[in-house]
Assembly symmetry: C2
Homo-oligomer: 358 residues x 2
């Protein structure tokens, strides 16, 4: 069994902590380990480090090697350019097939948080069994806690099996990010799950599906397959990769699949998509104030704050629902619920060419 | 003519910028000069530096000498212990009388901001003329802009004279800090002025008034007079000073005086009593956001902020009426209107014995 950790994110939403060279998964904002370290720490209880592949861009490879000393450097697969998840997964499948002909591959985002690691591993194990036995495309759905419009949704179909005491459902449909009305409908129906972006399948099966659903991408991948590990790879891979379609595996394959299965993952999942999401999963005092990063804080008549401070004392007086992020060269003060707009700050910095803050 | 600048303040209200070793008057929060530097810069257009005395505590003498190189070091008068304004002014008067027998002394707080320096000097000049000619106690009243409960009030009496085109009134009464209802009444009457803490009088006259109103303090001052400038001063001054009554000149003398005069000072006065007061007098953009200290800021959907940052970029998103103060080891986030409660943070730090932040 192999794990493929997709570590290609930009993560402007965690500015000023995240920068071009330090996207979200490389940050220790959820615990004192970085999010990608936690991802490896979890999955390596199931899959040995020699079988954990990390797909990333050139910019972040070095930092990943530094943060993950147990992963062999040759397992860091560098995409010449980001081309969304279908190409990324195809490239990883080629690497696996080159090593072992075929294997179950567990595809994981690098930047999610999991509250209950043992339940998570139990679900992944069951999913791997399904992927192996049914030769299908297996995905993990997350029971929605609200009508989120930032996620894709999976519609649960008929119960297909019980594996290791976990229910396995057919996937009836995959839905792209809905509007709010649609999201509410989904949640009320009780039949829809958030798409966690985790996939479990055999390398041979996903390649077959890519061939069927995305024939042009498949052709490109076959060209790469020819040169993989040869002296020609350095010249050919970037050329071919640049020409690949940029399409998500959800849109490109899952929506068209008729052999898709879903297990429900109830293990305290969060995509840690913003400072707001981080506040949600952080330990809080009775007034809902969270302090992370190692610094200290004095909360005076203050509620619902998230304070990230690596060293400084932060004193808050008479404020409510604020996100405070203190870094060496920049300070963010953001109203809670508005952390999606942190991107506007990054856009403004880009427009002003203030590269040192990006 | 002499100036006496009272520089004894603690100034916990500007934490985290103000610390025990750096009270408000030693900070460059109003401009790129410190408040005491600005005070000297203004008054030295009227009174030469050789005649400007600064009364302060031991803790701050060195920093004052550093900040005010034009003031002779012997003009820095050190109080062994803070004993409120009556003792402070008495000690300064002794120093002046020792040098020149008698002179008009202009007593100024070290920590106020003045918007219109030339009008200020015109008022001080007129006041000095009144003090000399009428041998009275002259004070500067500030036309109230609201029912402040943090100031003492001066009740305007009959018009007494016109000096240099400035109206001089008798003082009808001095009132201590009123409650809100009383303050409203004062402001509505149009007859009450804020007590600016500036006084102009001859040294001989204030000593005579201290003798009449505060005979015990006067006796103590006479003991000090005997040893001033002698080898005995170092031993006697602290001993006597510790025993002096701690009383304000307003309460101890002005309230009992029958030869008090007032000029109205309309020169953009502020006591800069808090971060809120500093916001009031700071330059602001169209959304009411003020940036001071030399750093930069991005205001996104933000109104009414005061940001103090010496270097860092501060980004604000979706917030209203916040005070942000960034220093090397501490960060304050305070709701505007609540900056009086910054003292609570200082109290908490004192209780927790976190001396490095005090």
């Amino acid at each position: 069994m192999y794990a493929v950790i997709m570590a290609g994110g930009r993560g402007t939403r965690f500015w000023p902590r995240s920068r071009e060279r330090k996207p979200k998964h490389l940050l220790d904002i959820v615990s004192n380990r970085t999010i990608v370290q936690e991802t490896v720490d979890r999955i390596k209880l199931l899959i040995e480090p020699a079988n954990i592949l990390i797909v990333t861009g050139k910019k972040h490879a070095r930092e990943l090697i530094r943060q993950l000393p147990e992963i062999p450097a040759k397992n860091i697969i560098i995409e010449p350019v980001g081309k969304n998840t279908a190409a990324c997964i195809g490239l990883a499948a080629l690497h696996i097939q080159k090593r072992v002909h075929d294997a179950v591959m567990v595809v994981l985002p690098s930047d999610h948080a999991i509250g209950d690691a043992s339940e998570y591993l139990a679900i992944i194990s069951a999913a791997a069994k399904v992927a192996d036995q049914k030769e299908g495309l297996v995905t993990i759905g997350i029971k929605p806690t609200g009508p989120e419009t930032g996620f894709g949704y999976i519609e649960q179909g008929q119960l297909s099996a019980n594996v290791n005491d976990k229910k396995v459902f057919r996937v009836k449909s995959n839905r792209e990010k809905p509007d709010l009305a649609k999201a509410r409908e989904f949640v009320q129906s009780g039949k829809f799950y958030w798409n966690s972006g985790m996939f479990i399948w055999k390398a041979s099966i996903i390649m077959k599906e890519i061939e069927r659903c995305l024939p042009d991408l498949y052709k490109g991948l076959m060209k790469i397959k020819e040169v993989l590990g040869t002296t020609k790879e350095a010249a050919i891979l970037p050329k071919v990769y640049k020409g690949l379609a940029s399409i998500s595996i959800d849109y490109g394959v899952m929506e068209k699949a008729d052999n898709a299965f879903m297990l429900s993952g109830d293990f305290g999942w969060s995509d840690v998509g913003s400072w707001d999401a981080l506040w949600e999963i952080s330990a809080k005092d009775n007034q809902g104030n969270a302090l992370i990063g190692g610094g200290s804080a004095i909360f005076t008549d203050t509620e619902g704050a998230l304070v990230y401070s690596p060293k400084k004392l932060v004193a808050l007086v008479g404020v409510k629902d604020l996100i405070i992020v203190e870094t060496a060269d920049a300070l963010l003060i953001c109203k809670k619920g508005r952390s999606q707009d942190v991107k506007k700050v990054v856009d403004a910095l880009e427009a002003a060419k203030k590269k040192k803050y990006l």
